[in-house]
């Protein structure tokens, strides 16, 4: 077993498609200018890449106005723009217990600094969430609902569209870090008001890329202030999108690679990607059941989750298992809390966490078989 097996796609996808790497290189060779700043051809080439990417992602997410899709450094930044920009002194926000710290930490910060009231709706121990429980938590003064599209711990898909149907006029912010590029997302049909996504996971782009869609009628306060290449005669920030959220030079190499990543995703097709990942999930679930003393968390039902699973092995810490998998079998997984203490409280694995296996398009059935075999060997060697 000389080659590596990568099962950490929920952290970042690997390997990136050759076209993504090529696009990053091409940016420096064929463009390389600062978009929207100077009037020369290299600046223009960069601006065209940004524009193409903005149009492509707007279409991919079913939105209409590409000026309302902004590029950020990651989903965390997108969520911070939405949360810090939408929640004022004394606001009320509703969220779930399946959120990543990219949501929970900004909310706890706002709780302390602005007196924001945070209602955390408890999910079931398998990570599922009853949409009516979100609706029941809404108040007349609720300013925002923020919901994970799928858990980064157990992969459980949360009922975004069902919540949207029950929420009334309360804006819905969705964290699509684990789903953009796997599950279909249509902001208009799904009733999503703000969509935060990352580029380096299932969209196969480089790290340091992400974005936020903001529906017409909403305008969170910017998180950053600075140069935009527009209205340079003014010392105040412009008030129009996308400029008001994109000060400072964009991650051009990243956006170029991200555009190529989206192209690869679209070429493969979401149905094929989802089907492949569900097949691997089903195989892994069945395989894990054959390993003695293994506790699997989540629903165990591929159609209710992404290709991310969590488990523990009786008598072993999660870090012991992931360490053995890496050192002895060159299989890469992730241990611990995965930056998400709240879901671990929910599924009963806090504070020690779980072994997380997160699969992607590049994984094969043979790799899943090797993982099961490796776990069985680890079990027997105890």
């Amino acid at each position: 077993m000389n080659s590596i097996i990568y099962f950490d796609h929920a952290a970042t996808s690997y390997p990136k498609p050759p076209s993504v790497i090529q696009a990053c290189q091409d940016f420096f060779l064929k463009a390389g200018g600062n978009p929207g700043r100077s009037g020369h051809r290299l600046s223009l080439e960069s601006a065209r890449i940004v524009y193409q990417a903005r149009e492509a992602f707007t279409s991919f997410f079913g939105a209409a106005d590409s000026s309302r899709l902004i590029f950020t450094s990651n989903a965390t930044e997108s969520l911070n723009i939405a949360l810090l920009g939408m929640l004022r002194e004394g606001s009320h926000v509703v969220t779930s217990s399946m959120e990543h710290n990219a949501v929970m930490r900004p909310l706890r910060h706002l709780e302390k600094t602005r007196g924001v009231e945070v209602t955390v709706v408890q999910a079931s121990p398998d990570g599922t969430l009853e949409p009516s429980r979100i609706a029941m938590a809404l108040r007349k003064d609720t300013s925002l609902i923020v919901l994970n599209h799928a858990s980064n711990v157990v992969g459980t898909v949360l009922p975004v569209r069902e919540v949207a149907a029950l929420k009334g006029t309360v804006p819905l912010l969705v964290d699509a870090a684990q789903t953009a590029g796997v599950l279909p997302i249509d902001v208009q049909k799904d009733g999503i008001d703000l969509l935060a996504f990352t580029g380096h996971k299932s969209l196969w782009g480089p790290t340091g890329t992400g974005g936020l869609y903001i529906r017409p009628g909403l305008q969170p306060s910017p998180l950053k202030y600075g140069g935009t290449g527009s209205f340079s005669e003014k010392e105040e920030m412009p008030d129009f999108l996308p400029d008001c959220y994109e000060c400072g030079t964009l991650n051009m190499m990243g956006i170029a690679g991200l555009l190529a990543g989206l192209g690869e995703v679209q070429q493969a097709g979401l149905p094929a990607i989802l089907s492949h990942e569900r097949m691997l999930t089903e195989m892994l679930v069945q395989g894990l059941k054959t390993v003695p003393g293994l506790i699997l968390y989540g629903t165990g039902e591929p159609e209710k989750q992404t290709a991310t699973l969590s488990f523990n092995m009786e008598g072993l810490m999660s870090s012991d298992v992931t360490g053995a998998l890496d050192r002895q079998f060159r299989i890469m997984t992730r241990s611990g809390l995965q930056c998400a203490p709240s879901p671990h409280h929910t599924i009963g694995t806090h504070p020690h966490g779980t072994v997380r296996v997160s699969m992607g398009w590049s994984n094969t059935t043979q790799e899943v078989e090797q993982l099961i075999e490796a776990l069985s060997i680890i079990r027997r060697s105890m």
């Binding site: 009037g39 223009l44 601006a47 524009y51 590409s66 209205f231 005669e233 129009f240 996308p242 400029d243």
Partner: protein, 91 residues
């Protein structure tokens, strides 16, 4: 003004790109040029087109999406404002 040139200015590079795409889709000749410094103190780009297409350009870019800031007719080194919403200054 059959062969005279006009210049459309915009608030942001995104609007320039979007407008260029729309005009080309409609078959209107346009060229992206650096923003004439006499028109706006902004950095970035503007769109050059034939003044005979000015009405169509206004219709395409000046609707609800409000992509357009201003249209100017180029006369020598001078720029004369034709029409548009906000004025960043014609001098």
């Amino acid at each position: 003004m059959e062969d005279s040139y006009c210049v459309a200015t915009f608030r942001s590079i995104h609007q320039v790109m979007k407008s260029e795409q729309l005009l080309k889709y409609k078959g209107i000749w346009t060229d992206m040029i650096p923003n004439p410094r006499t028109l706006v103190s902004d950095c970035g780009m503007a769109l050059l087109f034939y003044c005979r297409d000015a009405v169509m350009v206004q219709e395409i870019l000046g609707g609800d999406s409000a992509l357009l800031s201003n249209i100017f007719r180029k006369e020598g080194t001078e720029f004369i404002i034709l029409e548009g919403g906000e004025s960043l200054g014609s001098r």
